[in-house]
Symmetry: C2
Subunit: 345 residues, 2 copies
């Protein structure tokens, strides 16, 4: 930084070359750690990098080499801790691989998603990781992304897109939770919360129904309660479980937010979750372990999923023509105090 050339203009590779009397091509070889260049020369050049405070211009490099060093990450809802954690995992893994993350958040709007994708594509990302907004249309997304950039779709399904997909095993997770409650001795088990229209809710209900069927029990329609996936609405709907006899003694909830809401709603009705009534969640959000009672739930480790998504999209860069991969990650049951045995009636 003590060189007058550093004053105003940015230092380029040409400055470095001039500074130590070699050609630009040689400096470029040093930058790329080529074994071709002589050790002494390399040392001289690297000293000059230091002296001038040289900063590599990766965009210029990718322009010529046609190798992009960025990946676009488009998230439907960054304010949801699950996705924020996912984003952190993606960024962590991309950074480790020498890529930079181009962030776009869509706020669950398919319209914004189109605009965001179009804008990100102008920066020529090597690949795209997309957690689709509600109501995304595969055709429109494909139109924005083009046919030559690999896409990894996370969490939600995007019908017939021909892209790689990474999702949770919703069906098996709900099955595990239901079997856990059955094993405790419950026979009257509800499925509480979520919008039946969403693919994840549908899959979770399937797992729930499958576990009941395996135990020789029928699904009671009055024990299927729909709510928005928020604590507040879940708390309000708690009463729906007890509208008709026989009332359930346990509930598999769509996710943790709903489960926490339900527990509040139960308390408001004088029932003690974890004592009079068993509850399970889904996601294992940080609060699940700290609620009263602590919540039995299914852990998906969103940060690890982020790292995995990054790995998948980077792997695809080498294998552009291979068939699309559908990855379903198992989820893990975390048993805590909210899932109690049924009380003696």
């Amino acid at each position: 930084m003590n060189d007058p050339a550093a004053r105003r203009r940015k230092i380029t590779l040409a400055d470095v070359a001039a500074g130590c009397g070699v050609s630009r091509a040689t400096v470029s070889l040093v930058l790329r750690r080529s074994p071709l260049v002589n050790a002494a020369t390399r040392a001289r050049v690297e000293a000059e990098f230091q002296r001038l405070g040289y900063v590599y211009n990766r965009s210029a490099a990718s322009l010529r080499s046609r190798r992009s060093s960025s990946v676009a990450l488009v998230i439907n809802d960054l304010s949801n801790p699950f996705f924020a954690e996912f984003a952190a995992g993606v960024d962590e893994a991309l950074a480790a691989a020498g890529y930079v993350t181009l962030l776009g958040s869509t706020g669950e709007s398919a319209e914004r998603q189109q605009a965001v994708l179009a804008s990100l594509m102008e920066h020529d990302p090597a690949g795209v990781i997309l957690s689709p907004a509600e109501g995304s249309d595969a055709r429109r997304v494909c139109q924005a992304v083009g046919a030559h950039t690999p896409v990894l779709v996370f969490n939600r399904e995007l019908a017939a897109s021909g892209w790689d997909h990474l999702g949770l095993d919703n069906r098996d997770g709900a099955r595990q939770a239901t079997e856990h409650l059955l094993a405790l001795g419950h026979t009257r088990i509800a499925f509480f919360g979520g919008h039946a229209g969403s693919s994840s809710c549908r899959q979770r209900r399937e797992g729930y129904a499958a576990a009941l069927a395996a135990a020789g029990l029928a699904v009671q329609p009055q024990w299927l309660v729909e709510t928005a996936p928020t604590r507040l609405e879940a708390a309000g709907q708690a009463g729906a479980l007890f509208a008709r006899d026989p009332a359930p003694t346990a509930a598999v909830c769509y996710n943790d937010a709903v489960a926490l809401g339900l527990m509040l709603g139960l308390l408001a009705r004088g029932r003690r979750p974890g004592v009079d009534f068993a509850v399970t969640g889904f996601d294992d959000i940080p609060e699940a372990a700290l609620s009263v009672p602590p919540l039995t739930t299914l852990a998906a480790d969103p940060r690890a999923r982020g790292r995995q998504a990054a790995a998948l999209v980077l792997a695809r860069l080498g294998q552009r023509e291979a068939i699309a991969v559908q990855t379903i990650v198992p989820v893990q049951l975390r048993v805590r105090a909210s899932s109690c045995a049924p009380g003696r009636p």
Copy 2:
């Protein structure tokens, strides 16, 4: 997309120019919406964009024009909802202004922060929004960022950096909370949680002390309890408040996580927050409104802060030499049930 040229290679401005018999310069003018170009020509070129499925290459453009269209966003902890929300706000405002967000997350590690900054700088961002990791050193950060890229520092202070700063009014917030408790009739008020070393904790303690002083009360050292800013540790340290007589009847907490933890810890000791003991938080995270009892706290609207940060850094691009701006945002007291009046002893 039906043109054979679209097959494999990417469509460039030269293809469009050739496709409709004008020069590359003219196509470039159309792209930039220059009024110089004839309406008929513009229409012809724009039709060709559609026909070929042309995608603008913004990196190439910024290389030549020396106008970057990205801003780096470096976040200490994306898994914290406060910062995730902040990031969403930044991205929203940057996207609206035609910039793309280069994301970097540091996981509170000053080392990683250096690496992340260095990597992001190679993509030549127009500016940097930095929410520093704990233990950041202004000199090292400056070394990574260079002297020519504007930086906006968010939340924490970075001593003597000469950069713009956006922070919350921590002092006034804690003062408001303390005055609120005083107005309710409390006189024995603790300050609970946080690391006294951090600038935000120091400022909040100052506000707390100022309010007590204004009421003619002295700060009792045994009522200043330090904890890591997590729910878990806060719950564990709750007992420290009652180690010596006289015990406090209320606590101003470092933040919401700490306050929620303290409330759990109180329950574990048979004291009912909001009934036997008053608690306030800081941040107004989404759970604050839904805890039992709902938490009195200070709202900072992180998404709006994100938009503001983006606006500040973009404003700086036009005013490179103007003096650094220190922006302190007021925070708003949200009174809820956790701050009760003192019980009759």
